[in-house]
């Protein structure tokens, strides 16, 4: 891996009205820095959001070769990007997905550990409840670091304080147009340059009974739920750029957007969420369970080979969910919800 970069950011842990602690980075961002420094070696470049002084100081104190302040994700240039919760900011995992899509590279979330070796990255992923998944990832890739990643290195307060404020050479101006400093992380929209306004739905999905009970990994269960094949057809060949293979012979072969699309379709199909699509967006998308994992532009886009330039890009996710802002004058349909979201008996 030629260039390991880290996107770090701090968070305000408590509302400012309450006396809160000193500025701090989330555990995942600290772990991201430590992984880049100690596991991957070499000169680590860090990115932080403009105005995030604590993140800049932390990265330099942790030993980053340089810190670049960015205003939006177009300023990111990387072969391997490690991102923590603070770095992702309000964009959350969606930011990582959009980055992976934009850069056409692999993406792994909930990463606990990463080791370089044999021309690939060996990534340990948290599957929850103590389960782990070992992935071999070839770059370029975006890794979302879990907050549960083991702490490899502690950066003292002295080291952070000893970093000179906005040291010359330490902070490089973002390639993006200069903007006024925006220290408030909450006011930042890291997805802005990547997508049309889009509001992710956060339904209280209850999928018990819908998914098959399996003894497999979370990936298997999710694949089964989405109808994505996890058989040999979905497996990528070794050496392909951007592939992600598990040591357990279960393959994740879908980029973030495709997964999200399938998930939304699945949820709307089962009536968990309501959805209204604008014309010409997902009409051509296969129904849940009907898609092939190795279809270009869909499953495998994140893990598969880079698409040639001539290949039309996947349709932009411009669909607007019914949970978005309601136009003035529109009345909300009366919906009576009982306990746990069930409609009461008539």
């Amino acid at each position: 891996m030629e260039r390991a970069s880290v996107l770090v950011g701090s968070v305000a842990l408590l509302p400012p009205a309450v006396p809160s602690g000193l500025p701090a980075l989330p555990a995942s961002d600290r772990a991201a820095m430590a992984l880049a420094m100690l596991r991957l070696g070499g000169a680590t470049r860090a990115y932080c959001w403009r105005g995030d002084e604590e993140a800049r100081r932390y990265a330099l104190a942790a030993g980053a070769a340089g810190v670049l302040a960015i205003d939006d994700v177009r300023g990111l240039d990387f072969d391997l990007l490690l991102v923590g919760a603070g770095g992702a900011g309000a964009g959350g995992d969606l930011l990582l997905g959009r980055l992976a899509e934009e850069k056409q590279c692999a993406m792994v979330l909930d990463v606990l550990d990463v080791q370089a070796g044999g021309g690939a990255l060996l990534v340990t992923r948290d599957l929850g409840r103590g389960a782990r998944e070992l992935l071999s990832v070839q770059g370029p890739a975006v890794l979302g670091i879990s907050g549960q990643a083991p702490r490899l290195h502690y950066v003292s307060r002295y080291r952070r304080l000893a970093v000179p404020a906005a040291a010359a050479g330490a902070t490089v101006a973002s390639p993006a147009p200069q903007a006024a400093a925006r220290p408030d992380a909450a006011s930042r929209d890291p997805l802005a340059p990547l997508s049309e306004p889009w509001e992710p739905a956060r339904p209280r999905a209850r999928i018990e009974g819908l998914a098959q009970r399996t003894a497999g990994t979370a990936t298997e269960r999710m694949n089964a739920l989405l109808g994505v094949s996890s058989g040999p057809a979905g497996r990528m060949e070794p050496g392909e750029a951007g592939t992600a293979r598990t040591g357990l012979e279960h393959v994740v072969v879908a980029d973030a957007e495709t997964c999200a699309r399938h998930l939304l379709r699945f949820l709307s199909h089962h009536g968990v969420i309501e959805r209204r699509l604008t014309a010409g967006t997902h009409a051509a998308a296969p129904p849940p369970g009907g898609g092939r994992a190795d279809e270009p532009g869909q499953a495998g886009a994140a893990g598969g080979p880079r698409r040639p330039a001539a290949t039309p890009p996947p349709p932009a996710l411009t669909g607007k969910l019914s949970r978005g802002p309601r136009p003035p004058g529109e009345q909300q349909p009366a919906r009576i919800r009982g306990p746990y979201g069930k409609a009461p008996h008539a």
Binding site: L13, R151, H153, Y154, S156
Partner: protein, 677 residues
């Protein structure tokens, strides 16, 4: 020549000129080697970091010289262990007398002075022989103790035994030389040399006399001279050095009670020490001064609990790191984990991390050391080095991050600081309100159930007394004590400055706290950052209220009570009377004392961040301490520290119901439960 002048002896009379010349060459060479060794050490000290200001300016050389003389004369510190103290006293006094005798011989022989004859000679012979006896007696006591198997305190290293044996042979060979000299013609006045004359008589009985005695004398003299030369040459080396450095180390020891850490200036150089080169000159001098007596190991709670820490080995490890650095080996590298990187041999190669993290910073080792070595400071300095190097136990890192992010080491939300006060009338200071008396609740008092009980009791007492006081509530933040003692100096100073600013914002005049750690930090460590507050521990406050008749405890309690002195109240701040006055005021409670109490108390195991860290040992410190309390037959174990209360309660429970200890209570709780309020 007057008749008196015949009462003397020929100095070097039996030694041929070439041997005499050789003797002078060897002695000067040995002295040169010793001087070079001392000079090398001195230059090393000069290159080291400046010492943190523990000795108040103005104490100066007079204090140092007076301290050395008093130390050598009275052996007050050494006599705390009667056997070792007596042995050392005999050996030092004996050595001193023999050395003075040798100097007299030198003056008589090598200067125009002429005094070594007549009555003076006889008197000097007697005193020198008695000195020799004392010298040999002291050394025999040391060697006898080493021969015993029962004393685990003894450092069984050959280079420690080598000094005792070398000195013993110098003494023995000296008497043999003297005996052989006298045996040649047995002058009657030499009876004043009581031992030498006895040895001469013995030699005569063996048939050694006349010319044969002269040969014995010459051979013995050569051996004696060679041993003495070797002794001089080895003076700066390892354990031998303590004879030179010990008294100086005592003279430059920090003033003030043990356990108080001086403020570390946060400049361009990272705080802490990761390598021998990161320590101050005084630390290096202390390392050289170690007598390896092991008293620090004897009193260390971590050692007693079977943890990896041995305070003596920390000091010897530092000395070994210095030696390795001077020899050009084991340099500390850069990069993560390297720490401040002042050069020299890496400390971790000689002092394992487990040793550093086992310490409870109780200060007992500092207090026990007969040559004034501040072992605790070296451990904390080592911890700082590890923190700056980024290599800390997870629990410590959690503590640092929680304290930084939420201003308390428990990781609880600052807004919950007053959760314990539900149903109580607790006045919280308003924005900018002037506060005459601030009740500093502390993190344990705010978040730990054991500490919350103390806080509630204190509020009831304060409200009962009608005292005008305030608490800071959510604005309170950790005093920084756990972070500091775990080596996070930067975090401590950030928190300290924040607290100081807040207290100044409220124009706080007096601070009252039930936490000895906060008490110690406010009283002794914040002044180093430019803020001096009048601070009172709740035991002092309660004792004062009882004395003034404002607080009259009831008679609702019964049984026997024993008080556990918190380290940061008793040893660090010398407050051992006030808690006992409070207990004495409680009727129907019969006070008991543990063997280790007052300023020589035994730690509960929570100090120095050990409340959060858990380095495994053979047993647990709190169990040992609770066992000591139970052995007094007490039913109530009282204390004046929320951390001690938590630890001792755990210890009490681990002893089981058979221990007789019914409960562990804070002084304030006992007062409330006595029913007088």
């Amino acid at each position: 020549m007057s008749p008196a002048e015949t009462i003397t002896r020929a100095i070097l009379g039996n030694i041929p000129a070439p041997i005499r010349t050789g003797f002078y060459v060897v002695v000067f060479a040995a002295v040169a080697v010793a001087a070079a060794g001392f000079l090398r050490r001195f230059l090393h000290y000069r290159r080291a970091r400046p010492s943190l200001p523990r000795v108040p300016p103005g104490a100066g050389a007079r204090r140092g010289v007076a301290s050395i003389l008093s130390y050598l004369t009275f052996h007050r510190e050494l006599r705390r262990d009667p056997y070792a103290g007596l042995a050392h006293l005999l050996a030092v006094y004996g050595f001193g007398i023999l050395f003075i005798g040798t100097c007299l011989v030198f003056l008589e022989h090598d200067t125009p002075l002429h005094f070594f004859y007549g009555d003076f000679y006889l008197f000097a012979s007697l005193i020198i022989d008695l000195g020799g006896v004392a010298f040999l007696a002291g050394l025999s006591m040391f060697l006898g103790r080493r021969a015993g198997r029962g004393d685990s305190r003894i450092l069984r290293a050959w280079w420690v035994a080598a000094l005792a044996w070398l000195l013993l042979w110098i003494g023995v060979s000296g008497f043999l030389v003297e005996g052989a000299r006298i045996a040649r013609d047995m002058p009657a006045f030499e009876r004043w040399s009581v031992v030498g004359y006895g040895v001469a008589a013995g030699l005569r009985a063996l048939g050694v006399a006349g010319r044969e005695a002269a040969l014995w004398h010459r051979a013995g003299w050569i051996v004696h001279a060679a041993l003495c030369a070797a002794f001089f040459a080895l003076l700066p080396w390892r354990f031998f050095g303590h004879m030179a450095y010990g008294a100086v180390s005592w003279a430059v020891r920090g003033t003030g009670p043990p356990g108080i850490l001086p403020v570390v200036p946060l400049g361009e150089r990272a705080p802490g020490a990761a390598a021998a080169g990161d320590f101050s000159w005084r630390d290096l001098l202390h390392a050289d001064a170690c007598t390896t007596c092991g008293r620090c190991n004897d009193v260390c709670p971590a050692t007693a609990a079977g943890k990896v820490l041995r305070p003596r080995e920390v000091v010897l490890g530092l000395r070994a790191a210095v030696d390795a650095g001077l020899a050009g080996g084991g340099t500390a590298g850069g990069g993560p984990g390297a720490g401040p990187g002042g050069g020299g041999a890496a400390l971790t190669a000689f002092v394992p991390d487990g040793m550093l993290w086992s310490c409870t910073t109780c200060g007992a080792c500092n207090e026990a050391c007969p040559v004034g070595i501040e072992i605790l400071e070296k451990i904390v300095e080592g911890r700082r080095g590890r923190v700056e190097g980024g290599v800390v136990p997870d629990a410590a890192a959690d503590l640092f991050e929680s304290t930084a992010a939420r201003f308390n080491p428990y990781g609880k939300a600052p807004g919950d600081r007053l959760a314990w006060a539900s149903g109580l009338n607790v006045p919280v200071a308003g924005d900018g309100e002037s506060v005459e008396l601030l009740y500093w609740v502390g993190c344990a008092g705010s978040f730990d159930p054991d500490g919350q009980a103390v806080s509630r009791a204190m509020i009831r007492i304060l409200n009962h007394l009608g005292v005008r006081y305030r608490v800071l509530g959510p604005r309170e933040c950790c005093s920084g004590d756990p972070a500091r003692r775990l080596g996070e100096e930067g975090l401590f100073q950030e928190l300290a400055r924040l607290n100081i600013a807040r207290l100044r914002q409220h124009s706080v005049q007096r601070v009252l706290t039930h936490c000895p750690h906060c008490f110690n930090t406010f009283k002794n460590e914040y002044p180093g950052l430019g803020a001096a507050f009048e601070v009172e521990h709740h035991s002092q406050f309660l004792a004062r209220m009882i004395r003034d008749g404002k607080l009259r405890p009831g008679a609702g309690l019964g049984g026997t009570v024993v008080f556990h002195d918190p380290c940061y109240l008793g040893r660090a701040n010398g407050e051992v009377e006030a808690p006992r006055q409070v207990l004495a005021a409680l009727p129907d409670l019969e006070p008991r004392e543990m063997p280790r109490s007052g300023t020589r108390s035994f730690c509960c195991g929570a100090g120095g961040g050990s409340m959060w860290l858990d380095v495994a040992g053979r047993t647990r410190i709190e169990t040992l301490r609770a066992g000591e309390a139970a052995a007094t037959g007490a039913t109530i174990l009282a204390t004046g520290c929320p951390f001690c209360k938590t630890m001792l309660e755990a210890g009490r429970q681990s002893l089981g119901p058979g221990s007789g200890l019914r409960e562990v209570k804070d002084l304030a709780e006992l007062l409330v439960e006595s029913g007088g309020l």
